[in-house]
Each structure stands twice: as C-alpha cells, then as structure tokens.
C-alpha cells in the first residue's frame, strides 16, 4: 500500500510539473461544448436533445487523447525497464498510473461537465446523472485505454492504433453513460444504468491491471 501511494505521488508530481497534460483534455472537452452549437444549431430544444450524447462523446475522446501518454515518457527514458527489474509489484504500479490518468482526465472532466451541460441546454434534472455517470464510467475508460497504451508503447506512432484497439471496448460505457443522462433528464430512474456502469468498473478494476502488466512486458521485452 505504501508503494502504491509512493507511485501515485510520483506520477501526480510528474503531471503537475507538465501542466499541459492537465489542461489539454479539459480544453478539448470545453472546446467541443463551445463549437458544437455553432456548427449544428443554437436552438435550445435541439441542443437539449443532443446534449447527453455530445457531453459523453467529448469526455470519451478527451480521455482517449491523453491515454497514449500514460507509459510513453517512462518507456522513452528507460524508467519502464527499471520498473520491470524491480522486485516490487507491477500491478500496484500500473494501478497508480491509471489512477493518475483518471484524476487528470475523468475526474476533472466530471467536475467541469455541468458547465458544458449548461452551454448545451441540458435540463436541470440531467446534471446529477451526468456527473455521477461520468464519475463511474471514466475510470473504466482509463483502465481499458491503459491496456491499449501498454500494447502500443513500443511503437513510434501508436496513437491511431490505440483508438482502433480500445474504441470498441469503450462503446458499452458510452451507451450506458449517455442513456443514464437521457433517462435522468426526462425524469426516469437511472439506478439501473449506474449499476451497470459500476459493474463494468468493478470488472475492469479486477481484470485490466493483469492485462496491462502483460502488455507492458510484451512491449518492453520484444
């Protein structure tokens, strides 16, 4: 546990020293909110209908954009090799890295999502479901994305490949996340959707770290 905290502290410190890692996903997320009404239509009723899907797609893409960097710098400067010859648990290390990624992407996105929802005229009843579904859904995105990042870290241009690998796995999260907001905004119960998002999260917390560690070993050892 103390090793997990030490790894988390290091990764957070690294992120705070490179501020654009934090700003990039947020800027992307908010830019979609600003540009979408300009491109489609500024009419409130139309935007309100599209809002749940748009906010969720923007959050998903913002998370995907930054996932490539999870292991990149550690691979490039040799830190990853040192991690692999360490007697410490790689599972904890990987969990710390994914947690850091979630804190700077998913968690921050969930916090600013009401601003985006406001710009897109989402009904007031949809705000709480939006924040809760993002809080439950985005950690799953980070965990799945990290598998793709670990598999492609050895390639120079892995960006497109990550999208191909992980986007199909993102789809269930997107469907249930966006549906929960849609249901919430017209006053229907959302517990079922949130329970499904939570189930996906539990499943990926248990299984994804093993896949990430195996993928990292393949990338470094080949």
């Amino acid at each position: 546990m103390s090793f997990f905290l030490a790894a988390l502290r290091r990764d957070l410190l690294l992120t705070f020293r490179r501020r654009n890692d934090i700003i990039n996903p947020l800027a992307f997320f908010l830019m979609v909110g600003v540009l979408f009404p300009l491109g489609v239509s500024p009419e409130a009723s139309l935007l309100a209908q599209l809002a749940p899907g748009v906010v969720w797609v923007a959050a998903l893409l913002a998370s995907l954009l930054s996932v490539d960097g999870i292991f990149r710098s550690d691979f490039d400067d040799g830190s990853l090799e040192h991690m692999l010859v360490s007697p410490r648990s790689l599972l904890l290390l990987v969990l710390a890295k994914v947690t850091t990624h979630w804190l700077i992407s998913g968690f921050c996105l969930a916090l600013v999502s009401p601003v985006l929802a406001l710009m897109l005229f989402l009904p007031n009843e949809g705000f709480a479901p939006l924040v809760f579904s993002l809080l439950l859904g985005t950690p799953t995105l980070s965990l799945i994305g990290a598998i793709g990042a670990a598999l492609t870290v050895g390639l120079r241009k892995g960006g497109i490949l990550i999208s191909l690998l992980v986007l199909p796995l993102y789809i269930p999260v997107l469907i249930f996340g966006a549906s929960s907001v849609q249901a919430g905004s017209i006053g229907l119960p959302i517990q079922g959707y949130l329970a499904l998002l939570a189930a996906m999260l539990v499943l990926s917390i248990v299984l994804a770290p093993f896949a990430i560690v195996a993928a990292l070993k393949i990338s470094v050892r080949s």
Partner: protein, 208 residues
C-alpha cells in the same frame, strides 16, 4: 554466483550468441567487449530477463532465474543504457523514487550520495537543466546506495569526465572486495585497483 548456460539469441536473422556460457563468482568484474551492434546491450538485457527473445538458462545461486525472478531482482542493481532519470523531477526526487522501486537502495543517505557524485547544491534543481554528464551521475548515485550483490551496468561511463570515471572504478573495487560482482559494458580501458578484470569479447565469441 551467476551461471549462464547455453544462451542462444538471434536478431534480424543474425545469430548473436550460440552456446554461449560463462560463470561469474564472488569478487569478479566482467567486462563485455565488442563492436557496436555485437550484442552487448542485448546480452545484459538477457541477463536481467528484460527480453524473452533467447534460449538457454540463467542461474543465480543455483536457482533458475526464470522461476525465482523476485529473489534475483532483490539481488540485482541494473543501470541501463537509458538512465531512467526524469527531467522534470529533481535529482533528489529521482533517487527517492528509485529507492522505492529498488528495495536494496538505502533511502537515508541519498543526500550523501549526491554529494559523493559531485552534485552537492544541485539536489533541488530539475534534472533537465543539468548537463548530460550530471544526469548520468544522478543515475549512478544508486551505486553508492545499493546493497545488492550483483551490479549490471550498461555503458556506465558515457558522458562522465575522467575524475568521475576514476571514482566509479574505485567504487567498483570496493564492491567486489566486499564480495559483490559486477558485469559491465564499456569501451574504456578499465583500471580497477586490486582486481583483475575478466573480459569477454563478443566478436571473438561469434567466430569460434
């Protein structure tokens, strides 16, 4: 201590090692020599199990490393070709993290070790502002902190000045006198006081 048996490794359809074996005992320094591209780094990565693309076995104190990796990694200090030093972290933060990863590193004497490698006054400066040699020194400060018996060093003297190299040679001498062993690659003529350096030339291995 370390026994390497019948290593076979092929890369890009070129055989790097075939039936390659050696034994390393306590108090020995082994220098791997060879031209660029002869497989020095590959050999060190094989020894650390950082690559799977080989056949053969490696034994540490009679135990196959394949099955007892954790024991082996406890006993190993690996300084790779890439130093693993983060540019945005300070020298001290880098070493604190390395001591978290490597249980054999002594966390208390980090400041002392930085002083010994000549980085006194640079502890709290981000590493990307240091020169290449100074960054190398941050990674090599681990040698002063480690209690691991086996050191595997890949080109440790790159970018170091003459004084720095002499200091590391003295340190290696102290380590082997205390019963440790060292495997390193370098093109530099090693001068380790009180110890004969064993040499393996990979170019010759290939032809025989």
């Amino acid at each position: 201590m370390l026994e390497v048996k019948n290593i076979f490794c092929e890369r890009d359809e070129r055989i790097l090692f075939s039936e390659f074996s050696f034994t390393l005992n306590e108090g020995e320094v082994l220098q791997i020599e060879g031209q660029n591209g002869s497989g020095k780094t590959t050999l060190l990565r094989i020894l650390c199990h950082l690559t799977e693309a080989f056949e053969g076995n490696i034994f540490w104190h009679g135990q196959n490393v394949e099955h007892s990796r954790e024991v082996f990694y406890h006993a190993l200090l690996y300084v790779g070709h890439l130093s693993g030093v983060k540019g945005v972290l300070t020298a001290k933060e880098n070493l604190i993290w390395m001591s978290q990863l490597d249980t054999a590193l002594d966390r208390i004497s980090i400041t002392g070790a930085l002083k010994k490698v000549g980085l006194f006054g640079y502890e709290d400066v981000p590493c990307h502002t240091l020169s290449a040699g100074q960054q190398r020194r941050v990674g090599l400060a681990r040698l002063y902190l480690s209690s691991a018996p086996l050191w595997i060093l890949d080109e440790p003297f790159t970018a170091l000045d003459k004084k720095g190299v002499a200091e590391k040679e003295t340190l290696i001498a102290q380590h082997v006198q205390a019963g440790g062993c060292v495997i390193l690659t370098t093109h530099h003529n090693l001068n380790i006081p009180g110890t004969d350096v064993r040499k393996i030339n990979l170019d010759e291995c290939l032809t025989t």
